[in-house]
């Protein structure tokens, strides 16, 4: 009897990114762990339809991630849930 076996590739990660109040979410699958934080940020901005003129940061467990780092370097593993937060001020 054959059994299906799910093979998880360690070089690919699954991520979830939410906005500040958890209203909007982006689920990313099969993201290479060599991808940079900036690449993930760009993709999340696109899929969440965020304004191009506003700066955003990705935050994991309260820690702002360095956009130059690869996910593996930034400590982002499969199943990570990050926040995307805008850098804005009222005038």
């Amino acid at each position: 009897m054959e059994q299906a076996v799910a093979i998880e590739r360690p070089d690919l990660v699954t991520l979830t990114v939410t906005d500040w109040d958890r209203t909007r979410r982006a689920h990313l699958e099969d993201v290479p762990s060599s991808a940079t934080v900036a690449e993930v940020l760009d993709e999340v901005r696109r899929v969440m339809e965020l304004a191009p003129e506003t700066s955003y940061q990705l935050v994991l467990d309260g820690r702002q991630l360095n956009q130059m780092e690869m996910l593996s370097e930034a400590g982002v593993g499969s199943g990570s849930v990050m926040e995307i937060l805008p850098e804005v001020h009222a005038g």
Partner: protein, 330 residues
């Protein structure tokens, strides 16, 4: 005279809003382009989705439907557009004129002024251009969203597809007191309340009835700014989770200058939505029902007695709506 775009807007493989075009605002002087800035169509998409849910054409289950965009070309033809058409398979279509980009155009002009690249005497023009998007999704991505926080109820005499906004008078008093207590520095916070959905009328009412003050981020606050930071968002979430309240927008103040206090007859009016405020509202409070309340010195009141104005999403843009406590506005 306008004509629809020729390029098809193919659905995105990610299941999100399809955008076959990128839209930019260009600022021109004597026909020469001085700057070009990207613009988001998110408020238009949100407008289409919210009305589709209100009118029962789209289930309120958190799925993000595929929407397509199509430029409505200007009479001079591509790449200039007179507007944009947003459409989806089962939830209708809406056309938005280029005026929905006016706020972004004003912000771009202010930025040119700030950089001294133009003078106040210059005659400028602005236009919106659409160009086919050349980059696709990089990863397999699926968006989702929380359903709109509707409570079933009735909205008497409501027109189909409309949102009535009601601000409770007690809340106005509380915010006025908070603003008076912070005379020289901006203060800000969340507005909370309920979103009532009348299924029979296919309309909604937003009842704004409470608030939370929030701490500014690392950029602090002054008489002319109030910064959002991760500490702000964390505090906001904690307050909402602890109270079970629903965030329906935000408020902040524009304090009077010292001369306003010295001169009770001062006619200065500082209550408006600045370009920074529009950026905050677009980034942090994008849902179609979310409002912005600005409090501070208005022309018809002395500095010690702040006035207020309310701003709400309407047709993909932000508009000043009459603040009529306990009666609301359609």
């Amino acid at each position: 005279m306008t004509r629809a775009g020729e390029g098809p807007s193919s659905p995105s493989p990610s299941g999100s809003t399809a955008m076959a075009y990128d839209f930019r605002v260009e600022i021109l002087r004597d026909g020469t382009r001085l700057s070009a800035v990207g613009v988001t169509l998110a408020p238009c998409f949100e407008d289409v989705r919210f009305r589709a849910v209100l009118e029962g054409r789209l289930p309120n289950d958190g799925t993000v439907p595929e929407l397509a965009t199509e430029p409505v070309w200007d009479e001079d033809g591509p790449p200039a557009v007179a507007g944009v058409r947003v459409c989806g398979a089962d939830h209708g279509e809406s056309t938005y004129g280029r005026e929905v980009f006016a706020t972004r155009a004003r912000a771009a002009i202010v930025e040119l002024l700030r950089r001294h690249e133009i003078s106040r005497d210059d005659t400028l023009a602005w236009r919106v251009v659409a160009t086919p998007r050349t980059t696709g999704p990089r990863f397999r991505t699926r968006p989702s969203r929380r359903p709109y926080p509707f409570r079933a109820g009735t909205v008497p005499d409501a027109r189909r597809g409309t949102l009535r906004i009601v601000v409770e008078e007690e809340l106005v008093r509380k915010i006025r007191a908070a603003v008076v207590a912070s005379p020289g520095v901006e203060c800000a916070g969340l507005l909370t309340g309920q979103l009532v959905h009348d299924r029979e009328c296919e309309a909604a009412a937003l009842v704004v009835n409470d608030h939370f003050a929030l701490p500014p981020g690392p950029g602090g606050a002054s008489g002319v700014h109030w910064s959002f930071g991760s500490v702000t968002f964390a505090a906001a979430r904690r307050s909402l989770e602890a109270s079970g309240a629903e965030c329906v927008g935000w408020f902040h103040s524009h304090p009077p200058c010292e001369r306003c206090h010295e001169n009770p007859a001062c006619r200065a009016d500082l209550v408006f939505l600045s370009r920074d405020d529009v950026e905050v509202h677009t980034a942090v409070f994008p849902a179609a029902y979310m409002v912005a309340l600005v409090a501070g010195k208005v022309a018809e009141r002395p500095a010690c007695d702040p006035g207020m104005r309310l701003f709400a999403w309407s047709g993909g843009g932000l508009t000043d709506v009459a603040l009529t406590p306990d009666r609301g506005t359609a």
